[in-house]
Amino acid sequence: MNEIATPSPAALDVPRAPALRRYGVPVLVFAAFALAPIAAAQGAEGYILSLLTRVMIFAIAAMSLDLILGYGALVSFGHAAFLGIGAYAVGILASHGIESALVQLLAALGASALFALVTGAISMRTKGVYFIMITLAFGQMLYFLATSLSAYGGDDGLTLPSRSLLFGANLLKGDHAFYYAVLGCLLGCYLLCRSVVASRFGRVLRGAKENAVRMQAIGFAPYRFQLGAYVLAGTLCGLAGFLLANQTEFVSPAYMTWQRSGELIVVVVLGGLASLHGAIIGAAAFLLLEEVLSGYTEHWKMIFGPLLVLVVLYARGGILGMMGGRHG
């Protein structure tokens, strides 16, 4: 055996992208979000903030999906259901006069986690495309349930009296305050997901994605880890739903159509799978492109569609792959 046969433990790390790439892109992304309001102050501030807030909310939703899709190969086609659960938690409580953000948030997260636990436990019995479709089924059931809730507006949805109250005060009312609250949530989710992915738990999750039988043969029960990840992802997406309701001050079944779930998948793949910040970039690219293109022509989808195709054909690994900043 030669001299590198037993490297020192410090050198045992898996090869990684250089630190600049690893941390550079996410730092840039967050810096851009943090500074955007300053730039926005020059123009239509409320509009730009609202647009970027929407981007960040969808980034949270997409990132939560990336956690199970990119790292666990669990393609959920019903992920928008959690957006709906989070939003309806706000809407339903508010319509009964409970406007405390804390209570609403707890309800949103709790309900999302519970829904994820129950449907996940059932869905996990299946694999691959069957998993895709059974999650769709649960998403659709919830969607139809929401449309039949006449007391809460049915298909028309319901308007919130105001944004959720923090400590009894309307602290989230201002566009700036809300923007930074959402940015805080995004950062929090990102750091949490980063940590989870690198942790022991995340490693098992990734392993189960590559070869579940092998994982069993070394003593893991992948089911429990995958279910755990599913619940976590659902809960985070519930947070996104909570924020979405507050941003639009409106709640509607339209938040949880299958098209929305599909868009979330598209956003994740577009940005670059299994990188977390890829989901943020994907959300930004998707929503901003939509906004910009639709400003030019009514037929903007005839430009947007082919763009997506080109990304797939010529940029493996989504936008991140195109930037060459992909790793992991």
Binding site: M1, N2, I4, A5, T6, P7, P9, L12, D13, V14, P15, L192, S195, V196, A198, S199, R200, F201, G202, R203, V204, R206, G207, E210, N211, V213, R214, M215, Q216, A217, I218, G219, F220, A221, F225, G228
Partner: protein, 250 residues
């Protein structure tokens, strides 16, 4: 025999009308290297699947370390000390060789429901994993993504992963398949080194390896054990010659 570490009692498995394993009764003694040979399609791999828990048995019992493990999941059996390798290489191709092994170490050391802390920097896991890689001569390949290893190296990795679960009993399904002379000699040496420290059930078609390593040999034909005994006994058995060895071994 009371001192058997693994005892199979009347194990059966059928796929449709095909009885793949048929009333297999077998004892494996602690510390021995027990080879199972037999024609292609005799049910050897299936038997390993049954013992390791990958395939459910139709009937019969599996006693391991004096406990009935017939109904346990694969993961539970691993935790009790039963490890296996796969005939068709089964690794995590996107993970480095080291991480493949480190995961196996992780599986039995502490909870894996930890959401924080970078697992790939856990010294304890890495150092132990490294030692298993070194045992199979892959120390210098630790940080290569395992999908890029050569066929023979993958077979070695497969073995290292099994070792990392710190098994009492190793089930090895054709560890030599596809390895060249040089590499297969190395694997045989490794096995020789493991012998005595672990109880090993070895499936192989390489008769040189089998007869030089095994303490005892069982012969499986059409799902039934037709002979068990010391290598020279089995080699001389005319039934075995007719069904499996042919004249090559003569």
């Amino acid at each position: 025999m009371a001192d058997a570490i693994l005892r199979l009692e009347g194990l059966r498995k059928a796929y449709g009308a095909l009885k793949v394993t048929d009333d297999v009764t077998l004892d494996v003694r602690p510390g021995e290297l027990h080879a199972i040979i037999g024609p292609n399609g005799a049910g050897k791999t299936t038997l390993i699947h049954q013992v390791s828990g990958l395939a459910a048995s139709d009937s019969g019992r599996i006693l391991f370390d004096s406990a009935d493990v017939t109904r346990l999941t694969m993961a539970q059996r691993v935790h009790r000390g039963l490890a296996r390798s796969f005939q068709i290489t089964s690794i995590l191709p996107g993970f480095s060789a080291l991480e493949n092994v480190a995961l196996a170490v992780q599986a039995r050391s502490g909870s894996s429901f930890r959401l924080f802390g970078d697992a790939s920097r856990e010294r304890g896991l890495n150092e132990e994993a490294m030692s298993y890689l070194a045992q199979v001569g892959l120390g210098h390949r630790a940080i290569i993504p395992s999908g890029q290893l050569s066929h023979g190296e993958k077979r070695g990795l497969e073995l290292a992963i099994a070792l990392a679960t710190r098994p009492m009993l190793l089930l090895l399904d054709e560890p030599l398949a596809g390895t060249g002379h040089e590499e297969s000699e190395r694997v045989v040496e490794t096995l020789r080194g493991l012998k005595g420290r672990y109880t090993i059930v070895l499936i192989e078609h390489d008769m040189n390896a089998v007869f030089s390593l095994a303490d005892r040999v069982s012969v499986l034909v059409y799902g039934r054990v037709i002979a068990t005994g010391r290598p020279d006994e089995v080699r001389a058995n005319p039934e075995v010659r007719a069904a499996y060895l042919g004249e090559e071994a003569a």
